[in-house]
Symmetry: C2
Subunit: 466 residues, 2 copies
Amino acid sequence: MDGRWIIELDRKEKKYLYQQLAEAIRREIDTRSLEEGEPLPSIKRLAKELKINPATVVKAYEVLEKEGYIEKKLGSGSFVKDRETQILNFASGTPSYDFFPVEDFKKIINDVMDNDGARAFEYTEGQGDRALRVALKNYIQKYNIHTNEDHIHVISGAQQGIDIIVKALVDQGEKVMIEKPSYTGAIGAFRSRGASLIEVPIKNDGLDLKYLESILVEEVPKLLYVMPNFQNPTGTSYSTYQKHRLLELAEKYGFYILEDDYLSDLSFYSKDSRTLKSLDRHHKVIYIKSFSKIFMPGLRLGFLVVPEELQEAILEAKLISDISTSGLLQRALKEYMERGMWERHIERLKTMYSRRFDLALDLIRREFPEEVVFKAPKGGLNFWFQLPKTFDFTKFVKDLEEQGIRIARGEYFFLTPPEEPSFRFSIANVDEEGIRWGILFMAELLRKAFRRKGRIEDREKQDLIL
Amino acid sequence: MDGRWIIELDRKEKKYLYQQLAEAIRREIDTRSLEEGEPLPSIKRLAKELKINPATVVKAYEVLEKEGYIEKKLGSGSFVKDRETQILNFASGTPSYDFFPVEDFKKIINDVMDNDGARAFEYTEGQGDRALRVALKNYIQKYNIHTNEDHIHVISGAQQGIDIIVKALVDQGEKVMIEKPSYTGAIGAFRSRGASLIEVPIKNDGLDLKYLESILVEEVPKLLYVMPNFQNPTGTSYSTYQKHRLLELAEKYGFYILEDDYLSDLSFYSKDSRTLKSLDRHHKVIYIKSFSKIFMPGLRLGFLVVPEELQEAILEAKLISDISTSGLLQRALKEYMERGMWERHIERLKTMYSRRFDLALDLIRREFPEEVVFKAPKGGLNFWFQLPKTFDFTKFVKDLEEQGIRIARGEYFFLTPPEEPSFRFSIANVDEEGIRWGILFMAELLRKAFRRKGRIEDREKQDLIL
């Protein structure tokens, strides 16, 4: 373009025009005729110059975008991607957007707008669109949660669910128990309300029950906030015994359990990824389901299953939080579920993530030095690592960042950071190639760090015979 | 259908098939062959039976829906509308959905999904999509608010804005001043946080400034929450003097003003509907703009303009409230504004609402007895009425409800309901015919009530000569 590129398309060639075009641009980028950060011509302009259909340009740009050659910027067109600074974001628990079922959802949104017209843009009931609540009820029945739509509340994402429950249940200075470590966003919501937080350590198969009971006999807090399947950040799954015991304690001492089910769908090797809610006979569990990790985070949708006696307080809290959740998106989600697309999506997601999971687990087991404390999770997307007090964590993070590798520092998941450094490694956002490269690079750093201190045998030899 | 209706369509007739079909169904409803609440056959089924295109049935149903003969229920098809119990909802401040720019918005949403694909479904920045913030900055420049996109925060509706500001600024027991009467949703958010509320009476041209200063000299509250243009519920507009004086006081005593601008766009007769924010030289105003009343409430979008020193606290509060607002809807709104559709929509809305406003005002002035205390607003959608202590308000409301007329009881807008009954009458949701009928019926009731007590001359005679 501007006389700078030469693009020749051959209509007689076997290759599709869009492939030829993509190839030509790829060549320009590889040879640096087109430089990083440089804008590409607009679709319209390029189509005109090459006398081809704009759809062909769109397709070519799509191919290049998928390959990581170019990137779109909203409202400003496409640009050559800055490849040096490509980030491997293992800090983020947000799914890769190439897993988003955009085409299906687009069709659905159009159907909703066609069928429902202006009604799709009205306020919905604060509790959520009834038809969606029915669809959600049916969905969780398959996970053994038997409720009715009256106990389901639609929320604008799980974070809002936590915020609403805190508003409904907790007043300033009241006690709330959380896992140690726990989800940062929940800690923030509890703190903002002025709750007094008590951390209960996570052990191998769930909470430290002895410690928990020692709290309960003194003064019963209002709430216990837990993620019993593939806990965030540790990846821990509560044992069946733990689950039942927690429910017994909630009944015996009279507190609510706030169960944040952000990932139980992604069970790969767990024999029991049942939710507490599905075992809850005494209506002590408030259940939060997030769709951000298993669907599309930008939709901001989730739901609660709420015990009868809390209904009114939670409705009131939702009303003052944002009145109601977008009706258009609720209607679309309902259709998506009713047409069976949801189930297909989850199956697809499980397949793709289980490949990443297996790869990561295998590499970690083979490559990480034994000084790194690690317990293999049975599902989910998070891996949790603890390091010795003496480990130079600041340098480790810096070295990773120089390579564009991001991890989530463990300290953020504690009220008071422990002396031993730790970090969360999430496979949600990075593809298999990135996972391989990232883990190998990390393992290299870790091995070097420990070898420098002379505390480790040469694992590489060991690896060769594995 | 089921042998019960006879529908004959004549393909040779001049009238379109959908018109013939609509006519036939209309006849069935008018003659009660099809009864109220009865389901209509599905589009597919009817198309098959009549051997016509489903689109023809869709069109016929659309016509009937517009005429009020039938109504769609999401996911369950269309039903004959219950015409006896049609509600004239003057209680609701939500705009009629026939004002929603659905077609334009549909096009935009499709463009966004086509252009941005999966990215439209990612998390956006907590503060909001930057491109949207730039568009919003440009929009409010026309209303003399000069800021930059860094001070704009996208929120999921104005209610969330209030909730977030309360989280960021107010702790339990801290003092917040509100107008008396004030918006119920704001009162709820302040109360939920445990704020101590102080009501400052609304007078003709704004707040009772003497009373306000008497509070300030004692102990300065954190916040003053106001709606200076077409206040909700009273419709009062603050004078220019009031606006400047409030800003002076905020600066002098050191408190923030939370300005809820829900309607300043709908100024019909006001000489000055400037916002406080546009006059705010000392960064004392936090500005909330709602789109629910002037766009489509179901989108759940709004924005804040925030003084520099509050930025961080507000970002944090947004994060724990719902992380971020739907990216898809933000991108769509940005496009909608950038393409100039927003301005056209507001112009159209103003024209339509000003007709309703004039009609209502004229009828109220002519028909309501003088015992009803009323001050004509200069714009907006709310009319506020105060009645004598002795007036039987319970009976009045019951009589209205029997006719399907709903009003908003004044007591909800006060912390402690005053002895004198009052009510808010909103023209947002009812068309001109409904407004005429509703006001005439109300006026009749009011006249009767006062005449029975022998306290009013015969206004009807007077009306004849007006």
